[in-house]
Subunit: 200 residues, 2 copies
Amino acid sequence: MDKEPTTATKQRMLDAGLTLLLEQGYHGVGVQAVLDAAQAPKGSFYHHFNDKEDFALQVVDAYMTGVHAALDASLSDSSRAPLDRIRGFFELVSQGYEHDGYLGCLLGGLGQELSGASDVFATKIDWCLGYIAGRLAEPLGEARARGDLTVAEDPAVLAQRLVECWEGAALHSRLLRDPSPLPAMLDFYFRAITRVPDDG
Amino acid sequence: MDKEPTTATKQRMLDAGLTLLLEQGYHGVGVQAVLDAAQAPKGSFYHHFNDKEDFALQVVDAYMTGVHAALDASLSDSSRAPLDRIRGFFELVSQGYEHDGYLGCLLGGLGQELSGASDVFATKIDWCLGYIAGRLAEPLGEARARGDLTVAEDPAVLAQRLVECWEGAALHSRLLRDPSPLPAMLDFYFRAITRVPDDG
């Protein structure tokens, strides 16, 4: 029997880590649970990771690889209006949540659990959410240039609010194990920045 | 020396629990840390609480006692317009966050950490956030009746969005250890529901 490449073992541990961290949180997950879920040989954890913190940070990186792919796929679609591209991004994110059973956002989960005690995680998660906001600021700026927005704020500021709104809706979705807050929040946000009320 | 009443010991453990749970999360806090922080005698933890889950649920209840007081104090102030009363509530909440060093919202923190694995906490935290939304729906309804709102949604729905928006901003505040996302989100939200754009 061929020996499995260690990169495949590592990837299985990262994949298992995403599910376990979403369900149980950082402190709820032990090394043995990762090995068991990944069917990885004993000893392989510390072959690939310095410690559990290093592991969780690499799970976040793996999660962000998926986020990058979703951003690239949705925001590059120039056949859609800029705000529709943003909606397309969050639709891809929502599909990920559905796949996980509506456990919310890993970034929000680890950010809440760990950022009180760990500057490493506070900085990491803030960077990740700030990166997403930075990417979303581009189509927001484009939307403004086209005259699609009815608010005057800087697109970078609007993008920060959008990510915060989404994280709050993702928490609610996690509590309910239900997607309903997610599109409701997008509707609220997009109307807030584009609405032209009735005259009156 | 008089023996301290056990209710005072219990209250000190609950007070210490709020700080510890905000900083370290549920799994990061052990019974001994609670006893140490509260300077409580060994054995008193299990005199007052069945287990750590019971303790954390009672910390949430104690937190909600403060929320109730803030809701009562701010929402009953009939000298202020309904939306100003809501802003007054979140100003009181923000003062609590400042006192804690901007560690965000205990409900969002425990909700994120625990609701993936614990239906007890998912249900409890969802109830708490839903209760706050229910209280905020009243002045939102009053604002609508006065003609202060420029959106048509049900006040109960608007209140849910408001609590979600706040929780997302509280996460960002926690990551940054800085209050700035909190008033920024309130400004965004209130403008979203009251804005009368320029004609055009």
